[in-house]
């Protein structure tokens, strides 16, 4: 095979026999095939949120924790610094606890994008997301959205970059009558809530843009202070799918975001998937 002068944007006739074979799935993709016996071992999951209390017993430690701080000079980029504050709300800890409960052996990372004021927070979220993708984390949980159209295009580009780098973005859907991002993008996995109590029940939505429904109502979650609080919101449904994604990727690390979404679809509770 001759050496390529250009990236692999086409497939030459002489290359057809040498192309890497696509993975062959079983005749029926079941939950047993997808995640049976998985603990999420070795999968890096990033929580882009209010920070995470890594010492919380339900979080069980962090592999890394950084914060995005506003630039020191006007016009400069926001800075990635070691996180000294931990969780400035409690919500990031809750999301981390949910992922840990489903994928106990995954590696959890925190990127704190809150705490420096609401003004300028869009830039911090973009910088934090870019950092998470650059780190090569396989799953990034985004229990947040922006309504600012200025950020939509930049977020869209980042979501596509993640998609091609095999980083799965799991974003909570907005249940308010406004345009918001990034959950509306086809390159991310968008999640709304169902009212059930089974953390391993998820439903494929035949009527997108919300693609999946996961547990998000009245659940006991880890919170700052070491205890738990009972919470409701789509922002808790997203980390359920993030945790389930970690389980699948631990068993099938070769999956692209597109293939992972297909597996989640084929093993959804309303597609016959059971725990």
């Amino acid at each position: 095979m001759t050496e390529r002068l250009l990236p692999a944007w086409s497939l030459r006739a002489e290359e057809v026999d040498g192309i890497e074979p696509a993975p062959v799935w079983s005749d029926r993709v079941t939950r047993e095939w997808a995640l049976g016996g998985s603990t999420g071992e070795g999968v890096d999951v990033c929580i882009l949120d209010s920070g995470v209390d890594g010492d919380h017993p339900l979080v069980g430690g962090l592999s890394s924790a950084v914060a995005v701080e506003p630039p020191e000079e006007e016009g400069a980029e926001p800075r990635i610094v070691p996180d000294e504050l931990g969780d400035v709300c409690g919500h990031g800890t809750a999301c981390a606890g949910i992922v840990r409960s489903l994928a106990p052996d995954c590696r959890l990372h925190s990127v704190r994008v809150l705490g420096a004021g609401n003004a300028g927070s869009g830039d911090l979220i973009l910088t934090g997301l870019r950092h998470a993708i650059e780190q090569g984390h396989r799953v990034v949980n985004l229990s947040l959205s922006t309504t600012k159209r200025r950020f939509a295009e930049l977020l869209h580009d980042l979501a596509d970059a993640a998609y091609f780098k095999r980083t799965v973005l799991v974003a909570s859907a907005h249940n308010m009558p406004v345009e918001s991002y990034p959950w509306r993008f086809a390159s991310v996995i968008s999640v709304g809530s169902h009212e059930g109590e089974d953390s391993l029940a998820w439903y494929a939505n035949p009527d997108p843009p919300v693609e999946f429904f996961a547990r998000g109502v009245e659940l006991d979650v880890a919170w700052t202070g070491g205890g738990t609080l009972r919470c409701t919101g789509n922002s808790f449904a997203a980390p359920h799918i993030a945790g389930i994604a970690a389980l699948v990727l631990a068993r099938h690390p070769e999956l692209t975001p597109f293939q992972l979404k297909s597996v989640l679809y084929l093993t959804a509770t309303n597609a016959g998937g059971t725990t």
């Binding site: 420096a116 947040l144 249940n175 308010m176 202070g225 609080l229």
Partner: protein, 214 residues
């Protein structure tokens, strides 16, 4: 303010008084409190200049002495809701010692259950609606209630936006320091003397250009 500027401002629907806007917001938090049979309901306005949240209306616990009190805009539960645009329902809140301490220091009232919804208008987050200690907190909060609350938040956002717009209009009328708004006010005044409509057509053309650019 001249007669023509007065007409222009009135035509833009910005002449309502601060008092009537406050009554509208007060009515909104009153109804929110009634819908959920809650001990209190409140609306925070996001003050962009100070980058803080300000209590604008309170019904129930804290009514009368919380209005005007300020909170950080991106920490705590209200800050998280403002930045992330996501509604949040949190019960057993008193189990979070930091929140309990902050709430006690700030308001003297520590709620045990909180529902917080962002107030959005177009692409901006302009505040947060809170419902504190709803009745029947032991009964699961349903998605139907969440939908009801988000619909209601849309109304609260309109009320809050009217308050903001009214203040802006008054600031301009009183010679406030917003340069762009002052230019618009001067143009509005000149339009009142624009007999042949040429100025209006020019401004409409400018509007199309600016919209195309945005």
């Amino acid at each position: 303010m001249t007669e023509s500027a007065y007409r222009a401002v009135a035509a833009a629907g910005m002449l309502a008084t601060e008092e009537s806007h406050r009554r509208l917001l007060q009515s909104i938090v009153g109804v929110a409190r009634a819908i959920f049979k809650a001990k209190a309901a409140s609306v925070f306005l996001f003050d962009e200049d100070a980058d803080e949240l300000v209590f604008e209306a309170v019904s129930g616990e804290g009514e009368g002495d919380l209005v005007g009190m300020r909170m950080p805009s991106s920490t705590g539960i209200a800050g998280w809701v403002l930045v992330t645009r996501q509604p949040l329902v949190v019960d057993d809140l008193s189990a979070d010692p930091r929140h309990a301490r902050q709430a006690a220091e700030a308001t003297g009232y520590v709620p045990n259950a909180l529902v917080a919804v962002p107030l959005l208008t177009d692409e901006r987050a302009i505040g947060v609606l809170n419902v504190l200690d709803r009745a029947e907190v032991d009964r699961p909060f349903s998605l139907a209630e969440m939908e009801l609350l988000t619909l209601f938040a849309d109304q609260a956002a309109i009320g809050l936006d009217l308050l903001r717009a009214g203040r802006k209009a008054r600031s301009v009328a009183e010679g406030g320091d917003d340069e762009r708004a002052a230019v618009v006010a001067r143009l509005a005044e000149l339009l009142g003397e624009d007999d042949d409509g040429a100025g209006l057509r020019l401004l409409e053309a400018l509007e199309r250009v600016l919209r195309g650019r945005g």
